[in-house]
């Protein structure tokens, strides 16, 4: 384009234009720019294009302010775990944590001495009728709920900390970026990035409650991160993963008013955060119905010719996406209002999407 060639040669003019747009130009410079714009239509058009870019680039900012205090708290948590500061600078609770770890290590040494002269390759912890707290070889602490079973190598030699779990447990994992802490539970892998959280098994569904830090949950190709005050429910039989927020608040609520449980087996177990399985099933049926309705609306709004053409879609608080394309704001607002979308969105398709809410794929609608 001749237009570009002509003016890209003119470096000074661009410096002035940029200054003019950012209100950095002095009176003299502003006069030069204004005269240049008036010179001819091409200049005017060019300046208008720059102004458009100028104004639009302002809009790329995130309008939601991040929670700096929460981020700082997470950061402190992270640095605390790998702290190398001298004991004199430590808080009492840091010292307490170290004492606890030493005690834990002592327990393990004792344990291994008891069993045989030769160190066992695998440590197994089994909880009886009451909950029991154990310290793992790396110093991480686990509280096994009644009848839960955990096994891990007696010594974590490799650069992995692999643990197998059956049942429910609370974890407080020592941060060590070089050795990820990975728990296998059912067919799911939970990778920990230094944190405390709880894993529960409820009728084959796996639930991960995060208290601090970040946890990554993986099953085959699918993977999702769980953040503090979030709970992820991974059903055994389908890929409908549910993410819920503010778990702690809910735990407190439910412990105060324990739900009556008809199943005798279930009532034996203490699961403060446990949501009865039938609620999950009901929720699932309901959310699935909503998802179907959203997909149908996409068709009736004329955004897709029919349901088969929808490969993936997402309806969230901030956006409506269909097959990778952001859809008109008017339709987004309409559907958002119709389905009361706030923090939790609806996601459909096998594309890897990050977000909070209800996730479905084609298998859910077979």
């Amino acid at each position: 384009m001749a237009l570009i060639k002509k003016y890209s040669a003119n470096d000074n003019m661009h410096i002035l234009l940029a200054k003019y747009l950012s209100r950095e130009a002095n009176a003299n410079e502003a006069a030069i720019v204004e005269a240049w714009i008036k010179e001819d239509d091409a200049n005017k058009k060019y300046a208008e294009q720059l102004e458009l870019i100028w104004n639009e680039s302002k809009k790329l900012t995130h309008n939601k302010k991040p929670d700096v205090q929460r981020a700082l708290a997470d950061f402190r948590e992270r640095t605390k775990a790998t702290s190398t500061t001298s004991i004199y600078k430590m808080h009492w609770w840091q010292i307490a944590a170290i004492v606890l770890i030493i005690a834990g290590v002592a327990t393990i040494i004792k344990l291994s001495n008891y069993s045989s002269i030769k160190q066992p390759d695998v440590l197994t912890f089994v909880a009886g009728d009451t909950a029991q707290t154990d310290t793992l070889p790396d110093g991480s602490v686990v509280q096994l709920q009644p009848h839960a079973e955990l096994s891990c190598p007696a010594k974590f030699i490799t650069n992995q900390r692999n643990i197998a779990l059956k049942g429910d447990a609370y974890f407080s994992v020592l941060h060590d970026a070089s050795r990820p802490f990975q728990i296998s539970v059912n067919d799911i892998k939970v990778t920990v990035l230094g944190t405390s959280f709880k894993i529960s098994n409820i009728d084959g569904n796996t639930e991960v409650d995060v208290i601090t830090g970040v946890v990554q949950v993986t099953r085959e190709e699918r993977s999702m991160k769980v953040f503090p005050h979030e709970k992820l429910i991974v059903p055994a039989s389908n890929d409908f993963w549910i993410k819920q927020r503010d778990t702690l608040a809910r735990i407190q609520l439910q412990t105060k008013n324990p739900l009556p449980q008809s199943d005798e087996k279930k009532s034996l177990q203490i699961k403060p955060s446990a949501q009865p399985a039938d609620t999950i099933v009901n929720d699932y049926a309901h959310q699935r119905q909503v998802m179907i309705s959203i997909l149908n609306d996409l068709v009736s709004e004329g955004l897709a010719p029919d349901r088969k053409n929808i490969v993936w879609a997402a309806l969230t608080d901030s956006v409506l996406i269909l097959n990778g394309e952001t859809q008109p704001e008017s339709v987004h607002q309409k559907l958002k209002t119709k389905y009361h979308i706030a923090e939790e969105g609806y996601y459909y398709g096998s594309v890897q999407i990050t977000g909070k809410g209800y996730f479905f794929n084609a298998d859910d609608f077979k």
């Binding site: 950095e24 639009e56 995130h62 950061f75 402190r76 992270r78 704001e329």
Partner: protein, 177 residues
């Protein structure tokens, strides 16, 4: 230069929002942006005793966030989605032209165009546009001269104009008729 834990927390509080905004403007994803900024600080903390920063700390932080974002885009699966979106860009723009252009399309194009800018050029542009810092403040923060800021600003503007040329022509045609 060695950093105490207190000093690092001060830096964290002063720069977190700005760096988060920067990461978000590149990745367009809250979770990734959060994680990347947090990682950059964590790595800074790990090597706080043997830190060597030739330019300014702010410059170092923006650069680290920029590089981490680029890494993320290179390695992450979202990249595939992102790429596919950019490939569809032109055809969709043409399609949309019939129905009127959407602000979102423009935004997407601009985001892509910004990705083509070199690191410092982008940082300067970002600080001016998204945080509305003056040339003088940017120069101070990054410890570069005001002349360099001027040069980066004009370069950014010119490059964005070239990257957006096709889209702009379409848009201007629509506005004119």
């Amino acid at each position: 230069m060695a950093l105490t834990a207190e000093a690092l927390e001060d830096i964290f509080v002063s720069y977190y929002e700005s760096l988060y905004g920067y990461a978000f403007s590149i990745l367009n994803n809250e979770l990734f942006a959060e994680e990347i900024v947090s990682d950059v600080f964590y790595r800074l903390w790990l090597k706080r005793d043997k830190l060597k920063i030739d330019t300014s700390l702010a410059g170092y932080l923006y650069k680290s966030v920029y590089n981490a974002c680029m890494d993320n885009m290179r390695h992450d699966k979202t990249k595939q989605v992102f790429k596919r979106e950019s490939l569809n860009q032109l055809t969709n723009n043409t399609l949309n032209a019939a129905n009127g252009l959407h602000a979102k399309d423009f935004e997407k194009n601009l985001r892509n165009a910004l990705l083509q800018l070199p690191e410092q050029c982008r940082t300067v542009f970002q600080l001016n546009r998204m945080e509305e810092l003056t040339y003088n403040d940017i120069a101070k923060r990054l410890r570069i001269s005001v002349k360099t800021v001027e040069a980066h600003m004009s370069k950014a503007l010119r490059r964005l104009r070239v990257s957006m040329a096709e889209f702009l022509t379409l848009l201007i045609v629509l506005l004119w008729h």
